[in-house]
Each structure stands twice: as structure tokens, then as C-alpha cells.
């Protein structure tokens, strides 16, 4: 196990290096600079600003500086909001996004597994059709559209929920729901097909031959085996929740990292863009590692080998 973790961490370092480099060069290629949107700056001041941010150095020097900074987790200062360091921005807003994200994940998994189990148990009957249609609808309606509709009809018109902000539990419901629904749909479908597959397996047949009842078989036998593929979806789920946050946070005015990221893109605020990208990538790679470890814990057959595959 330890071997596996170490190898994966090395792999993560390599991947991060590539991501950082790629991000850097992409930013270099980007047209415009953070200062172009402001009114015409006198060239002297522009030069000064460029010198301050090292934008006038040859690219390889910028690259070296950047690498060094990143190693020390110094993501520099925001170009747009003078005096605000990227690290501060991340430190402030990430916990919010994390809370939102975790809530969305719990919702997605809970709702998804429930729907999936129901549709598998009532296979080809009404329960199956209803749950499957629900799941497909969830997948089909883009989260931001759902968010807008929820906000308009349930918060604004009906007043059941606050329209926007992040001041208490009630504020978290609509945003996390909006993010979760699509993923709940995927998980429901995954759970359903996995459960159905278990139904055709030999050990379920043996369980029936033992005289066990349908519900006993489902909860004591099939479910645990059926959920294994769902665990592998946790990685993409996490990624999806992060990206979902970009737009949802905007719509519901949640002060999370996603919102800052989007704003920084519109503002061409390169330091924030790069810092946030690197940060997100790292989180995602770590999340996948955690999921893999989790998988091996749940499935007694898996012995993690030293190599990745």
C-alpha cells in the first residue's frame, strides 16, 4: 500500500509539473494583458507595471521565476486587485466552495444510489420507468439552467428559499441541489445497471438457492458489490462538482473559489488564473488518489500493486 501511495505521489508531481508548464505557456500565448482593459496608461507607468510583474522578462526567466514561486506555493499577487495575494483569495474562498461541493456530493450520491436501487428492484415496472426518467432528466438539464429555474421559481416567486448569498444553511440548499442533480442522474444509471448485473451473477443465484428473500439478497449481497463501480465514479464526480461550482456560485452569489476563477478569466487576471488552475489540479489529483485508496479498502479483492495499473 505504501509503495502504491509513493508511486502515485511521484506521478502527481510529474503531472503537476506538466500542468504548471502548460498553464504558463498558455498564459503567455494569451492576447492582451491584464492592463489593456483599463484606460490608456501612459507608457512609463505601463513599463513600471510590467517590470513589477516581470512581464518584460524573456519567457524563460518568467518561467523559471514562476516555477520557483509555485514550488513555494507563492502564487503571487492578483493583477487586478492590487494588494490581494492569490493565496489569500484561495484561502478565503476555497472553504466555501468545499462546503458547497461536499454537500452537493452527498446529495448526488444519496439521491443517485436511492434512485438506482429503486429502479433495479422494480425493473421494467413503473418504479423503474419513473426513476430512470428522473435520472435522464437530471442528466439532460444543464446545471446552470436548472439553477436559474430553481432560483426564479422556488426562491424568487415562491419565496421558499433565499435567492442568493451564503449566510446560513438555507442558502446552501438550492445551489447544492443544482450542482448535484446531474450527477445524481449519472450515479442512478450506474447503480441501476450495476445492480441489474449483480442480479444475473452466480452468487445471487446461490443466494436464492439458499432460500434467502429478495430484500435480504439486495441489501446483504448485491448492494455492496453493485456499489463498487459507483466508487470509481467518485473521481469524476468531484471534478464535476468543482466545475459546476464555477457557474452556480455566480448565479447564487456564493463567495467561493469558482466565482473568483471565472471573474479572473474575464479580467484576464493571469496570476489568479494560474494560481487557481494549479490549485484545482492538485486537489483533483489528490482526490483521485483518495478514491483509489478508498476503492481498495472497500473491495477485498483489490491489492494495490506498486505500479499504477
Amino acid at each position: 500500500m505504501l509503495n502504491f501511495i509513493i508511486k502515485r505521489l511521484l506521478y502527481i508531481v510529474l503531472a503537476m509539473y506538466l500542468i504548471i508548464t502548460a498553464t504558463f505557456f498558455l498564459m503567455q500565448l494569451a492576447p492582451g494583458s491584464p492592463f489593456t482593459s483599463e484606460r490608456e496608461l501612459p507608457p512609463a507607468i505601463e513599463e513600471q507595471l510590467n517590470a513589477k510583474y516581470g512581464l518584460d522578462n524573456p519567457w524563460y526567466i518568467q518561467y523559471k521565476d514562476y516555477l520557483v514561486d509555485t514550488m513555494t506555493f507563492d502564487f503571487g499577487e492578483s493583477m487586478k486587485y492590487k494588494g490581494r495575494s492569490t493565496n489569500d483569495i484561495i484561502a478565503e474562498s476555497f472553504p466555501v466552495s468545499l462546503a458547497l461541493g461536499l454537500q452537493a456530493m452527498v446529495l448526488a450520491i444519496g439521491l443517485g444510489v436511492l434512485l438506482g436501487v429503486v429502479s433495479a428492484l422494480y425493473h421494467n415496472r413503473f418504479g423503474d420507468y419513473a426513476a430512470t426518467i428522473f435520472a435522464i432528466l437530471g442528466i439532460s438539464v444543464p446545471s446552470f439552467i436548472l439553477a436559474g429555474l430553481l432560483q426564479y421559481y422556488l426562491a424568487f416567486e415562491a419565496g421558499w428559499f433565499p435567492v442568493s448569498g451564503w449566510k446560513g444553511f438555507a442558502y446552501t440548499i438550492l445551489p447544492s441541489l443544482a450542482i448535484a442533480v446531474t450527477h445524481a442522474g449519472f450515479i442512478a444509471k450506474l447503480t441501476r445497471s450495476s445492480m441489474l448485473e449483480q442480479n444475473n451473477s452466480e452468487y445471487v443465484k446461490l443466494a436464492r438457492a439458499k432460500g434467502l428473500g429478495k430484500w435480504t439478497i439486495v441489501f446483504k449481497h448485491s448492494l455492496r458489490n453493485a456499489l463498487l463501480p459507483v466508487v470509481t465514479y467518485l473521481g469524476p464526480l468531484f471534478a464535476g462538482v468543482i466545475t459546476g461550482s464555477f457557474v452556480i456560485e455566480q448565479i447564487f452569489a456564493v463567495p467561493g473559489l469558482g466565482r473568483h476563477f471565472v471573474t479572473s478569466i474575464t479580467n484576464r487576471d493571469y496570476t489568479v488564473i494560474m494560481g487557481t488552475t494549479v490549485f484545482y489540479s492538485l486537489i483533483l489529483l489528490l482526490a483521485v488518489l483518495i478514491v483509489d485508496i478508498l476503492y481498495s479498502v472497500i473491495d477485498p479483492r483489490i491489492k494495490l500493486k506498486g505500479a499504477k495499473k
Partner: protein, 348 residues
């Protein structure tokens, strides 16, 4: 007179499929007595597995249909029983072991738990502790070393032979009167095969369980069976004691089966007798004898009318027109005759 445990009368089972209705079992009848072993032999598609699954009503009901006949277990027809009532029977009065022990055991559940499940469900014990004790006993009985330790193992930690022993332990946990063994040794190495067969015979002697043994391997049949039913295309074509079948086979298909076994006693350069072709399509079964197209001894009547079951002796029946009093007397093929002589000499 031994007690009759199972009586199957004219069992018919169909399957609705995309291509049509498949008549998988077409009028199967047999009996089984206490403490004896009946082997059901046949190639793939003969209906032997469907029959055995049907005995525990394990056929999924769409697409399967119980189209006729009775299955009388201890005098009671189980076909009309509800699923709830069947759950009382399964694992308790009748139990089953499967071919592939790797997939038959739940990979994420410890083997001990898989045994205690049966005991607790059918109330053979009064507490969880008692269940565990009994399970460890069972593991010991089936020959698993260090049973208390193994109680906690997962299936993938055991070898194929060990797993099959666990499957047997599960099947025998509730002391069933009837054990259905569906090709239990096919997936195992030959040496392990012998061990498992020995184990089964031993356990049977101790508990007087009746066994239905499904296989395509005549060698195994000779080893374990008291009586044999040969199945082809959904019907039993020959039925008798082990001696009847091996010393006095009457049906050309049985001859084919015997002739295609390697014969170590008579080494000639002669090729193994192979039956060309394959079993018929059961969506549209032929109107005559189903084996006729592959039968070198087929007669005109075989293509027109299905033969009835002719009596050869009190214990021996065969479903072939060759036993009609007006039919020509066919000698048993040489290859088969040689083997029969060999068996008799060995004192099988």
C-alpha cells in the same frame, strides 16, 4: 422399501425468446429414492441444467414457463407453490451446488458468514454464536484445514478446490434431503475432482442425502451414480441403473456417448466414435425422434413419429424405436462392445 424423495412427472419447460418459444424440457419423468444418487447426463443444450434449476423453481419466470407436469418432492407438488413457500424449501429441504465456485461465492462477503446465513435463515440454530460454531464444524467436515481461521476468509483467498468445499458446506448446512449438484467438478483440476467426489460420497453416506448429479462426463457417472438418466434435446432417452447403462445400453445416443470416451483398455488405431452434427433447434423440435438426423441406425419411423419409452427391465427404460418388437435387432457397435467388456472385466 426405500422412501421416494422425488418424483418428476412429464415436466415441460419453455422459454420465450426473441427468436421464438424454446421447448427446453419436453416431458421429463424420473424418480429418486432416499440416499441414492441419480446422474443426469447429456451434452450442452440437452436440458439437464434447466431440469435441475426447475427442481428448485429457480428458473426466472419471464422468460421461463412451467408448461406442464409435476415435481413431487416428498409427495408434495412444488410447482404451484408460491415464492414465499419455495423460500422455505430452498437451502433447507433441497439445496444446490454450482459449477464454478469462483463466481458462486459472494466476493465481498466472508465465507463464514455465507454459511451462517443459511443456518440462521432456516432457524437451524438459536443464536449467532451457535451458528458460528456449527459453521466451523461444517468447514471441518468438508475438509478445510484450520476452520476457525478460515471462517473469516474471503473467497478469493482460497483455492478452487477449497471454494467448492465451502459451497458444499453451504449446501449441506441445513441438512437437506435432496442435493442437486450441477456439474460441480467440471471447473476443477482432475485431482481435485476426485477429492471432491470422494467428499460428496462420504457426506452422503453419513446423512443419507439423495443427490442428483448433473454432468456430461461419463467417467464421473461411473464413479458416483446409482442410477442414470441420459438426456437429449429436452427428453430422457435412456434411464436405468449404472449397470444397465454401462453394460447394456440400448439407445444409439448412449452408444455414441460411451463410444466417444477414451478407452484405455483396448488400444487399437481406431478413431474415437464421434457423433457428427449438433443438437436440434428446440424452437421447432422435430416431429420424430430428435436424435434421428445424427443417428446412423435411424429408421424411417424415427423421422415420422416420436418413439415411446420402451421397457427393457424393471429398472431400465429406453426411448428408441429399436426396441419395438418389429424393429431389426441392431448389435451394439464394436467400439462400444469392447468398452463394455472392459468395464465388466474391471468389475465396475
Amino acid at each position: 422399501m426405500k422412501k421416494k424423495v422425488l418424483e418428476v412427472n412429464d415436466l415441460r419447460i419453455n422459454f420465450k425468446t426473441y427468436a421464438g418459444v424454446v421447448q427446453a424440457v419436453r416431458g421429463v419423468s424420473f424418480e429418486l429414492y432416499e440416499g441414492e444418487t441419480l446422474a443426469i447426463v447429456g451434452e450442452s443444450g440437452s436440458g439437464k441444467s434447466v431440469t435441475s434449476n426447475a427442481l428448485m423453481k429457480l428458473i426466472p419466470q419471464p422468460p421461463g414457463i412451467y408448461a406442464g407436469g409435476e415435481i413431487n418432492f416428498n409427495g408434495r407438488n412444488i410447482i404451484p407453490l408460491s415464492e414465499k413457500e419455495m423460500m422455505q424449501v430452498r437451502g433447507n429441504d433441497i439445496s444446490m451446488i454450482f459449477q464454478d465456485p469462483m463466481t458462486a461465492l459472494n466476493p465481498t462477503m466472508r465465507i463464514g458468514t455465507q454459511i451462517t446465513e443459511v443456518l440462521l435463515k432456516h432457524k437451524k440454530v438459536t443464536s449467532k454464536d451457535e451458528a458460528k460454531k456449527r459453521a466451523v464444524e461444517l468447514l471441518d467436515q468438508v475438509g478445510i484445514p484450520f476452520p476457525e481461521k478460515r471462517y473469516k476468509s474471503y473467497p478469493h483467498e482460497l483455492s478452487g478446490g477449497m471454494r467448492q468445499r465451502v459451497v458444499i458446506a453451504i449446501a449441506l448446512a441445513a441438512d437437506p434431503k435432496l442435493l442437486i449438484a450441477d456439474e460441480p467438478t467440471t471447473a476443477l483440476d482432475v485431482t481435485i475432482q476426485a477429492q471432491i467426489l470422494e467428499l460428496m460420497k462420504e457426506l452422503q453416506k453419513k446423512s443419507n442425502t439423495s443427490i442428483i448429479f448433473i454432468t456430461h462426463d461419463l467417467g464421473v457417472v461411473a464413479n458416483v451414480a446409482d442410477r442414470v438418466a441420459v438426456m437429449y434435446a429436452g427428453q430422457i432417452v435412456e434411464y436405468g441403473t449404472v449397470e444397465d447403462i454401462f453394460y447394456n445400453p440400448q439407445h444409439p445416443y448412449t452408444w455414441g456417448l460411451l463410444g466417444s470416451m477414451p478407452d484405455l483398455n483396448n488400444s487399437t488405431d481406431e478413431l474415437l466414435m464421434a457423433i457428427p452434427g449438433s443438437p436440434p433447434n428446440l424452437i421447432d423440435p422435430p416431429k420424430g425422434d430428435a436424435f434421428a438426423p445424427r443417428n446412423e441406425f435411424a429408421m424411417k419411423i424415427d423421422f415420422e413419429m416420436e418413439p415411446p419409452m420402451f421397457k427393457v427391465s424393471d429398472t431400465h427404460y429406453a426411448k428408441t424405436w429399436l426396441l419395438h418388437p418389429d424393429a431389426p435387432k441392431m448389435p451394439v457397435p464394436d467400439a462400444v462392445a469392447r468398452r463394455i467388456k472392459g468395464y465388466q472385466q474391471e468389475g465396475m
